[in-house]
């Protein structure tokens, strides 16, 4: 196979940290090549180097055998390299066509030529089977369609090489399948795809070849047909990993949390409610998983349950007592633990030490404070104990929590939230951006909390996580709960459909049209 893009001996340091250490990679013509690795393994750095966003300290890039130097994305674009970023690089208030032509706009007599921009976008989307309306505003489009706009953006610039950074993070399983079909279609037209991910399942499903990175180095390569998830995981983490969470069947007891017809207002300007008429309950000793694509009201639901934002209608009951609108402090005192979805903004005070972060909920009580004065020794002793118990990799209790990796930051939060009596654990995206090793640990702790008699409300956009941990599974779509199932009685496919708003009994939408067609009927169903 002819290599269209090669990296040879790429090394990059960021303030002393080795992000890429003599990395070699080659992308063959017309292949889908997966770059697999954990967060922090150096994938993003390598990709930014390949797209001219970051310059390597050492090493060489070759385009179809010819050495090239990329000083900016423009250089990459000129060489036919396109990139689809994980966080879409789209301007929400611009139209699809404006976003696609931005930077290479057609002009007639000094003015933008909107007509020919739209026409060109129409032509491209017909040619590659990527259906979009050039005149729609990007902010009104579902994420799956926004991603198509990103791909079209690269194709408009005549990309022959497409780099996709974690392209499936925000998609429903159906959208993922659709994306894979699109990628296959592109490779059949000679486009080469470099696909960056940390999801093993996807690598096996779509890639022709896999390169695995760990700690800044390439640690191996494989062909999907010749390996399996276990093998890839071991390569990625550097040791054998237990992928399956082992847990005994749940033994639910009394109801701890009851949510009755909860409604939460949307963010200002978003129009409509973020959470509509949601009711459910969670018992002691069970894990209720809430599945759903990001942005379907899970965040607001969690905020209302944990007292961070007010409910518009409905009630939240804790052990039968109405705690709607109670302050977070009051909820904490009643045994509510919360692992928030954005750990850096809502879970930690980044500039504080590990020890201080570990007592954020209890600092005002003995033994951490005596008559209003903080006790350093108690705090430090507490920190040493928890660092050990939760395997937090930190130099010491005094280390600023900002210096820890994502996984270890998450362990700090978990340690803090579990180290007091827990009636209800609300865990929102508990393993987002966390390495596989820590995921294992965090999952074990959540199951342990359940077995110790806590009610657990788990919110996650990762279907695998929901399936692995939950005893019951609810699906959120457009602010409503569209389904509640026992974990044993639901398939991945069914959950995927529900997440896309397709209710059982309805015909599956035609591929590619699903996002636009389904919502109206599904939203009505959610209220019923």
């Amino acid at each position: 196979m002819k290599a269209v893009l090669e990296a040879r001996g790429i090394t990059k340091r960021f303030s002393g940290v080795l992000a890429n250490d003599r990395v070699d990679l080659d992308l063959g013509e017309g292949e889908i090549h997966a770059l697999l690795g954990e967060n922090g393994a150096g994938k993003s750095t390598l990709m930014n180097i390949l797209y001219g966003l970051v310059r390597p300290d050492e090493g060489e890039l070759r385009r179809s055998g010819r050495p090239v130097s990329l000083r900016s994305p423009s250089d990459a674009i000129a060489l036919g390299i396109g990139m689809v970023h994980q966080h879409f690089m789209l301007i929400p208030v611009f139209t699809v066509a404006e976003n696609i032509v931005l930077g290479a706009e057609p002009v007639r007599r000094g003015l933008l030529d909107r007509g020919s921009a739209s026409a060109e976008v129409r032509g491209l989307s017909a040619r590659y089977g990527l259906d979009v309306d050039p005149d729609a505003r990007v902010e009104d489009l579902p994420v799956g369609v926004q991603q198509r706009v990103e791909i079209l953006k690269a194709l408009y610039r005549k990309a022959e090489i497409l780099i996709l950074d974690e392209p499936t993070a925000v998609l429903t399983p159906q959208e993922v399948d659709e994306l894979f079909r699109v990628l296959r279609g592109l490779t059949s037209r000679g486009v080469s795809v470099l696909f960056i991910t940390h999801k093993l399942r996807e690598v096996l499903a779509v890639a022709d070849r896999v390169t695995v990175m760990r700690a800044g180095k390439v640690v191996g390569a494989a062909i999907p047909a010749e390996t399996d998830e276990r093998g890839l995981a071991a390569m990625m983490v550097g040791r054998e990993v237990v992928l399956q969470v082992s847990k005994a069947p749940a033994r639910p007891k009394a109801v701890v949390l009851e949510v009755e017809r909860l409604g939460v207002a949307g963010r200002r300007g978003s129009g409509g409610d973020a959470v509509r008429d949601v009711s459910f309950s969670v018992r002691a000793g069970e894990i209720l998983g809430i599945a759903g694509v990001q942005g379907n009201g899970q965040t607001e639901l969690v905020e209302a349950v944990t007292g961070l934002s007010p409910a518009r209608d409905g009630r939240v009951l804790l052990r039968g007592r109405d705690v709607t609108g109670a302050l977070p402090r009051a909820l904490i005192e009643r045994g509510v633990s919360h692992v928030p979805e954005d750990r850096q903004r809502h879970g930690l005070v980044l500039s504080y030490s590990v020890a201080d972060n570990l007592v954020l909920c209890t600092y005002h009580r003995a033994p951490f404070a005596v008559r209003g004065v903080l006790r350093d020794d108690a705090r430090e002793e507490n920190a040493r104990r928890l660092i050990k118990a939760y395997d937090i990799r930190a130099p010491g209790p005094g280390t600023p929590v900002s210096a820890l990796s994502g996984g270890n930051q998450q362990k700090v939060i978990l340690a803090r939230e579990m180290s007091r009596p827990v009636e209800l654990l609300v865990a929102s995206q508990p393993t987002r951006g966390v390495d596989v090793g820590s995921i294992e640990h965090i999952h074990r702790e959540i199951v342990a909390a359940r077995d110790a008699g806590a009610a657990v409300l788990l919110v996650s956009a990762e279907l695998d996580e929901i399936l692995a941990l939950s005893d019951r599974i609810a699906v959120m779509y457009r602010g409503g709960l569209v389904a509640m199932r026992d974990a044993g009685a639901v398939s991945r496919t069914e959950l995927g459909m529900l997440m896309a708003g397709v209710l059982p009994g309805e015909a599956a939408p035609a591929p590619g049209a699903g996002e636009e067609a389904a919502p109206a009927s599904a939203a009505g169903g959610a209220e019923a």
Binding site: N48, I77, H85, M89, I91, F94, G103, E105
Partner: protein, 360 residues
């Protein structure tokens, strides 16, 4: 929301005009009063329109320009001094002197725009602070030079302000200015005319050209713009310098078009009011202009009311108090900024320094 804002504008303007018409009706025909109000409104809205356009240029590219007030003040002084120097010292005739003054004012604004860009874009200084620095700098420098040049026997001009070359002459818009009654509305001075032209031009540039699309992209999502090869830093520099130049033209209005003299701090908050106009106008040129006209109408109200001072009925005597009437523009600013009339949306990356690629 848009309709609510325009309805508000229409109501405020009608009320102001109506009051003056009622007060002056015994002396002057109502239509003449309306025309006079319109003419004054257009004229006094000039610096507000230009200030707001300056803001639109800067903020659409993501740089908050809080220094419009200072840019105007500095330009008002430098333009005025330039015109005096040209006519009194170099002996250049009045009109060329005045035009030279305008050029100097515009250049002064552009220079301060460059300073703002350097602070805000290159050095990532907090943009509120950067703008404030420019305002303080302008107050200090203009006051200092004003004293050094003209005050006391030891000053450069020996305590005597040389004779100024007057103000820019009115332009006579052909045909329109000859209409009966409404004619005066079309007899405006050049900077006022330029302001109106610039409203349309700014709209064209921002929404119909390649540059405008890129500038707005930079103001909404600079990283996205950078990934398609747009030079974020360059776009911001250019827009902020253009914005500064427009503010400079607004400054020229004070000393070259309105009155032929300079007073310390004579911009009197107009730069800040124009920012309110820009916000109320939803960062669009035409919206900002409409808002500037409301403020202009409030000022025209005050000016026209002075003409009919003696006609004001005793029960409305508070209207005779110029300090009360003079409050109207500031009250309007407060009202508009509280968001009662509806909130507008700034560009998403407005005020955020752009950090070029590093590690994310």
């Amino acid at each position: 929301m848009v309709y609510r804002r325009y309805a508000f504008i229409a109501v405020v303007v009608s009320v102001l005009v109506l009051v003056v018409v009622l007060v002056g009706a015994s002396q002057v025909p109502p239509l003449t009063i309306v025309a006079s109000m319109a003419a004054t409104t257009l004229a006094v809205a000039t610096p507000l329109t230009l200030g707001a356009l300056s803001g639109v240029f800067c903020e659409r590219s993501g740089v908050v320009n809080l220094g419009i007030e200072g840019m105007m003040l500095a330009a008002a002084f430098s333009g005025w001094f330039g015109s005096i120097y040209a006519s009194a010292v170099l002996g250049i005739p009045p009109l060329p002197s005045l035009l030279l003054g305008v050029v100097i004012a515009v250049a002064t604004g552009a220079l301060l725009g460059l300073l703002l860009a350097a602070l805000a874009v290159t050095y990532s200084v907090d943009q509120i602070l950067a703008g404030t620095v420019i305002n303080l700098l302008a107050v200090g420098l203009t006051g200092f030079f004003n004293r050094q040049l003209f005050f006391g026997p030891a000053s450069a001009f020996g305590g005597q302000v040389p004779h100024a070359p007057g103000v820019l002459p009115r332009l006579h818009v052909p045909l329109l200015a000859d209409l009966p009654v409404v004619g005066p509305v079309f007899e405006q001075q050049p900077i006022a005319v330029a302001a109106v032209v610039l409203v349309g031009l700014t709209h064209l540039v921002l929404f119909r050209t390649r540059w405008g699309l890129r500038a707005r992209a930079v103001g909404e999502h600079p990283r996205a713009a950078a990934t398609v090869g747009i030079d974020v830093v360059r776009v911001r520099y250019v827009n902020v310098v253009i914005g500064g130049a427009i503010a400079g033209l607004g400054g020229a209005y004070f000393t070259l078009e309105s009155v032929p003299s300079f007073e310390p701090m004579m911009t009197n908050g107009r730069g800040f009011i124009s920012l309110a106009a820009m916000i109320f106008g939803d960062w669009t040129p035409f919206g900002s202009w409409a808002a500037a006209l409301v403020f202009g109408a409030a000022q025209a109200f005050q000016i026209n009311l002075q003409l009919f001072r003696d006609q004001i009925p005793p029960s409305w005597s508070f209207l005779q108090q110029s300090s009360v009437v003079g409050l109207v523009p500031y009250l309007l600013t407060l009202l508009i900024l509280t968001g009662v009339i509806g909130k507008t949306t700034p560009p998403a990356a407005d005020g955020q320094p752009y950090e070029p690629e590093g590690r994310r």
